[in-house]
């Protein structure tokens, strides 16, 4: 994984481009059951990686905010706990930090299970 990540040249996208990049990646991952889900629906304790962040139209700034605290493509992420009542807010481990997110915020984060990311195909998408 380490050597592969070294060679990846992620496109230097602007924020407006995020959704188009996302679509490309989504298409590639489809068919792999359970890889295309949002963080708020993840099961507790499962190791996941961030695929991309997509902010709601009403709050476009959320994308930057989430990225600043570490929700960047390729980062490891895990749902740690859900609050009561109603499973909201959530405790999320992102990289080495722990954050409390509301469900609406976690829904902006598309994740895939860690094993299902095939490094070679990942590289292929980016190239």
């Amino acid at each position: 994984m380490r050597t592969v990540l070294n060679t990846i040249q992620l496109p230097k996208w602007g924020f407006a481009m995020i959704s188009t990049v996302n679509k490309a990646r989504k298409r590639n991952d489809s068919g792999d059951a359970g890889t295309d889900e949002t963080l708020d629906h993840a099961s507790i304790g499962r190791a996941l990686t961030v695929q991309y962040v997509e902010a709601p139209h009403a709050a476009p700034e959320w994308a930057r905010w989430l990225e600043e605290i570490g929700f960047i493509a390729g980062e490891q992420v895990m749902l740690m706990a859900r609050g009561l009542p109603g499973g909201d807010p959530l405790v999320v481990r992102i990289g080495q930090s722990t954050f409390a997110l509301r469900r609406a915020e976690a829904a902006c984060v598309r994740v895939a299970s860690l094993e299902s990311i095939d490094p070679i195909r990942f590289e292929g998408v980016s190239a």
Binding site: K12, V91, G95, S97, T98, A100
Partner: protein, 635 residues
């Protein structure tokens, strides 16, 4: 509460500490500067500005600035904006730092190094303080500062902010002259470009950090198992809230129970001081001014110092240990139901000591609407200044008996007064949620839950000392001034010859009180109460000493609180007392809070709105209380 920007150490090079929230930056600042700190505000904003002084081994004197924690150089809260403004050299009355120390949490390089890279790009001389290296080693993270320094292109030193010698390597580095000129030639990037969101820089910083960590063999994610184990209990759906309730209960118990002895000591010290001075001075207006005005007034306020110290002790311990964000997490849902977020919990908790630090703490809330609502309801939390009023009235009017199998009735009344404030605050927030357009928007939480740490004695002590200093300045300043002013108003002019009533009835204060009592008659306040409310407007606790002064100068009884309690018990009806209690739950009787709100919101609109709505609430609540009590035969 410190009003202005003070340029304490205007000469000498300026060093700024920058870092992510929870990277141990303030602990490092405390270690570097010791007790030589000054807390004030940045010009124009109520963001706390902490400056200290440091002397290097070679005798060089440096000014050290502790900038608010930030995740990036794109500010999302007033706090972070200050950090950016200072770094870009745009802050009013603030020099651009000569050297920036990027404090980096060694256990979380992945996120922390991004900010360091962004700061480096600004072109100032820069050094990285690799903090919490002891914790990192415990977690099995071994970082070679030399290698990291080569990767980053700036000096890197390891620090352990919780050890007394933990900052020595950093301190020694400051004597290196080449450090101060490093990178300075690159100059400042164009401010327009620098303020614009720079997606590419941001993105490449992330990749750069990833590459650096890979080359140093540090890109494994190591779970923080100790914190996780604690969180399994603290954030447990059932155990978590129970624990939170227990913690809050313990805090409030301690505030009342532990403070009793030191409060008694302060009271007796005040009494013996006024006796000693009273014995030395001949009977004159000067004696009356010093004994009835200065000593009684200031002493009556100073008596809350133990409670404030204890409450801050707990708030600081909970904050330092990392528990407060967890409490905010547990309460997020509840706060969300009235349109706030868990983040509002910390300012509101502080408001139980005093609304001013509460209003100031609201600055950490990124969303302007949430911040404003939190500020507006903060005065409804029962601050410690209301306690003497509550204690006096409850002691005088609520019988000491037990109800419902062993619960003290007096305690229950006190608890219900606290509850009334909280319920009132929630109701106001709920109304604002449902009847304002901004109230229906969805706002993010995105709150970090930092790893648990054992609080250090030094940081707790310094934190408490800052609060005590602010409080004592307030006692020495506005409260003392008002007490003297009231004494003056209540003593002059002297009654005409052949007057039959008490002297105070002919004074300026007596006239004001009689005028006001026509407004307050429907809620049962007599003219003595009306007078006491005038200085009580400036600070609630003054109302007790004001009542003392009013009754003392009325010549009806003695001047101790004991006497005051039995005095009002015989002069007032129960309905009046209950009405005054209801008044105190809501009334905005604190000019200092309104002044803080004015600074915080940048104009008179919000403080005036706040005073208006709180007075209206107070009048309505008192009116209902009084009329209901009358109809129950308590008049």
């Amino acid at each position: 509460m410190s009003e202005s920007v003070i340029h304490l150490y205007p000469s000498g090079p300026l060093l700024a500490l920058v870092g992510n929230p929870n990277c141990g930056k303030t602990a490092l600042f405390n270690l570097l500067t010791g007790s030589r700190q000054k807390v004030a505000n940045y010009a124009g904003v109520t963001v706390e500005r902490k400056e200290g002084r440091l002397t290097t081994r070679d005798g060089k004197v440096l000014r050290v600035l502790d900038l608010p924690g930030a995740y990036s150089l794109y500010p999302r809260s007033p706090d972070e904006r200050v950090t950016c403004d200072v770094l870009f050299g745009r802050a009013a009355g603030e020099k651009r730092p000569d050297l920036v120390v990027c404090v980096v949490d060694a256990t979380n390089l992945r996120r922390n190094l991004r900010l360091a890279l962004a700061v480096k790009r600004l072109g100032m001389p820069c050094v990285v303080a690799l903090n919490m290296t002891d914790l990192a080693e415990k977690q099995g993270i071994k970082i070679d500062p030399e290698a990291l320094s080569a990767e980053l292109g700036m000096p890197v030193v390891s620090t352990v902010a919780v050890q007394s010698s933990g900052a020595d390597p950093l301190r020694d580095l400051f004597d290196d002259a080449s450090l101060w000129s490093r990178g300075a030639s690159q100059g400042l990037p164009k401010t327009t470009a620098a303020t614009q969101p720079d997606a590419q820089g941001h993105e490449s910083d992330h990749l750069a950090v990833r590459r650096i960590l890979q080359r140093l063999g540090l890109d494994d994610v190591i779970p923080n198992t100790t914190s996780d184990r604690i969180d399994r209990v603290v954030l447990h759906p059932v155990l978590g809230p129970v624990l939170l309730a227990l913690v809050l209960f313990l805090v409030f118990q301690a505030v009342f129970a532990w403070a009793e002895v030191p409060m008694g000591l302060i009271e007796s010290a005040t009494a013996s001081l006024s006796e000693a001075i009273g014995g030395l001075l001949p009977d004159s207006w000067l004696k009356s001014l010093i004994v009835d005005g200065v000593i009684a007034g200031a002493g009556g306020v100073l008596v809350f110092l133990p409670q404030i110290v204890i409450l801050y002790f707990f708030i600081l311990v909970l904050e330092e240990s990392g528990y407060l964000p967890r409490a905010a997490f547990l309460l997020d849902r509840l706060m969300g139901s009235v349109g706030l977020s868990g983040r509002s919990f910390i300012p509101l908790l502080s408001s139980f000591a005093c609304a001013i630090p509460g209003v100031m703490a609201a600055r950490s809330i990124a969303n302007p609407r949430d911040r404003l609502v939190t500020i507006m309801i903060a005065p409804l939390m029962t601050c410690s200044a209301r306690l003497p009023v509550y204690a006096l009235l409850i002691g005088a009017f609520i019988p000491q008996r037990e109800v419902w199998g062993g619960l003290a009735l007096q305690g229950l009344v006190l608890f219900s007064l606290y509850l009334a404030g909280v319920v009132g605050a929630m109701a106001v927030a709920w109304l604002l949620k449902h009847f304002t357009a901004s109230g229906r928007q969805v706002r993010p939480l995105m709150m970090e839950l930092p790893s648990y740490h054992l609080p250090t004695v030094r940081n707790i002590f310094i934190g408490i000392w800052h609060r005590v200093e602010i409080f004592l300045k307030r006692v020495g300043g506005i409260i003392l001034f008002l007490t003297i002013l009231l004494w003056f108003l209540a003593s002059f002019p002297s009654p005409p010859d052949g007057a039959t009533g008490a002297a105070i009835e002919y004074s300026l204060a007596g006239m004001m009180g009689k005028g006001l009592s026509t407004i307050f008659a429907p809620i049962g306040f007599n003219w003595q109460i009306s007078i006491a409310l005038v200085p009580g407007l400036a600070a609630r606790e003054v109302a007790v000493s004001a009542l003392g002064t009013v009754y003392a100068l009325s010549g009806v009884g003695g001047d101790t609180e004991q006497a005051l309690s039995s005095l009002i018990a015989s002069h007032w009806s129960v309905a009046t007392a209950l009405s005054l209690l209801a008044w105190y739950v809501f009334a905005p009787q604190c000019l200092a809070t309104l002044a803080a709100v004015k600074r915080e919101t940048g104009g008179w609109t919000m403080p005036l709105l706040m005073a208006g709505y709180l007075f209206a609430l107070a009048y309505i609540a008192s009116f209902i209380t009084y009329q209901v009590a009358l109809s129950m035969g308590l008049g």
